[in-house]
Amino acid sequence: MPVIEASHLTKIYKTAKKKPGLSGAIKGLFSREVTEVRAVDDVSFSIEEGELVGFLGPNGAGKTTTLKMLSGILYPTSGTAQVLGFTPWERKNEYRRQFSLVMGQKNQLWWDLPAQESLHLNKEIYGVPDADYRKLLDELTELLQVKRLLGVMVRELSLGERMKMELIASLLHDPRVLLLDEPTIGLDVVAQKNIREFIRDYNRRRKTTILLTSHYMNDIQALCDRVIIINRGKKSFDGHLNDVVEQFSATKLVTAVFSDGGAPREELEKLGQVVEFTKTRAVLKVKREEVAKASNSLMNKYAVDDINIEEVPIEEVIEKAFASAEK
């Protein structure tokens, strides 16, 4: 039985459209034109226990709205969801005790107190027994290397340190489902890497089911085997990260290094799209099914020192995947 099961989730926001200027504002008092925004549009997926799934999409794609429905903050306009066998928006305490939502841009720690006070407060809110709390706190602060910061006022912590404390606060009740919304947003490269590694290890060790949104490709690449891509509220892909490339990229990159003289540009353009061109080096974007033919003819016709065939960088593919969902 899947831990998270969403079927045909749809969320429509209604917003009143205001016409420009003062006269528009006055007209708006009497009659309002309501526009509907389909933030999430018929999205279905299911996630098994222990999976770490990346939720990918540009800003405004509907990622956060989906997470809010799964955490019970929002009701869907239509469709259903079950998490751990609960309907999230009924907000039963038994459910709320078993999951956590971390939003990278919102903090839950108390600003004017040392982090340990907020952590202790969470322990009490979730009713974690003393012994479990001490053990977990020890373990988590050790792993994230923030033990010495427990007594520091939250407002004096760096953004990265605060995020680590946020994570600890959300894990103290040993949730079975962890929903992470942009956990690395705004962090420097080192802090991003730390958080990322921690999430991966945590998922492996505890088999906690994690659904993570990010718009940093690095996060997703490092963490998730499976990704769900949504754009404009619609799901456009659900599967293994490598398959994204297969599905959305019809081309590969062929790099040839020439030993002398190189090749005439016009000739190369017959083989594929020329991305980079110098006397000694050329990069071509070649259709998948023509890669073999193209590299053969390169090697036969010119003095080639080296030839290299690669996938198009994943960022570029994702961009394409986003674009294709818009159609």
């Binding site: 039985m1 969320k11 926001y13 209604k14 933030a39 226990e49 709205t65 809010k68 955490s71 019970g72 903050i73 929002l74 009701y75 751990l84 066998g85 928006w89 907000r91 305490n93 038994e94 709320r96 005790r97 078993q98 999951f99 956590s100 939502l101 939003m103 919102k106 839950q108 108390w110 004017d112 107190l113 006070e117 907020s118 202790h120 407060l121 009490e124 809110i125 979730y126 009713g127 974690v128 027994p129 003393d130 479990d132 009740h173 040993d174 079975r176």
Partner: protein, 283 residues
Amino acid sequence: MDTPATVSPRPGWWKYWVILSTRTQEDMAYRVNYVVGAIFRFLPLVTTLYLWMAVYKSRGETGGGTEIAGWTLGNMVSYYAFVYIARGFSSMPGMTRDICVDIKDGALNRYLVKPMSYFWYQVVYRLAHKLVFWLVALFTFPPIFWFIREAFTHRPSVLEVAAFVASLFIAFSIGICFNFLIGLLAFWFTEISTFLFVIMVMEFFLSGHLIPLNLLPAAAQPFLNYLPFAFEAYWPCTILMGKVPAGELGGLLGLGLAWAVSLFLACLVVWRLGVKRYSAVGG
């Protein structure tokens, strides 16, 4: 699926006790603010008292007697002093605005996803604030009361003191529930800061904070005296002044309690409706 997460054997209210103590610690970080606030909050009292002294003086000089609506100058002075005590329980500075901000910027989410109640969270939050306030007031109030000691001509009976204490509890409950309710309006309206100001002034006036309610037009009194606001300052003060006959104390406190309970129930209902709307339109 494996066994559900273990839950500590502590009772349900325990978490609110911990919030209370944590919140008190956080407030203590601002104790200097409280001390400064506690001293300067008496400045308006000085001007109010001078005003009343002038009123009584000119009335005496023009042959109007030494009483206004049956109150001597001493009564008036002790009323305003007691108002500071009562409002120390019923006023909830910043509460409505805080709730509005929580609703508007989505900070409410962090309470919705946790196994806790936002209402009780707010109650202990304010309770903590009051605790620190009174900790400071224990040092700042006595000298000021000593300074105006001659005004306190009435020696309250045990019954009156008991009724006064009960009325402070009612004042606190009504203050919390009323401000909570107003804060919840943010679920329905986007811009309510002007409205909040109007409400604040209205509470200031209808509670008897500005002037005692018995000085208002006689026609309005039967109505205003029995609104919940009167229990936020006017009734606690007049009880301690001995202006409420012993036989009426029970009924009066009963009415106050009924208001507190009604407002509490209204909080629960409006909260439910509000969250329903919040969850529908987006947080």
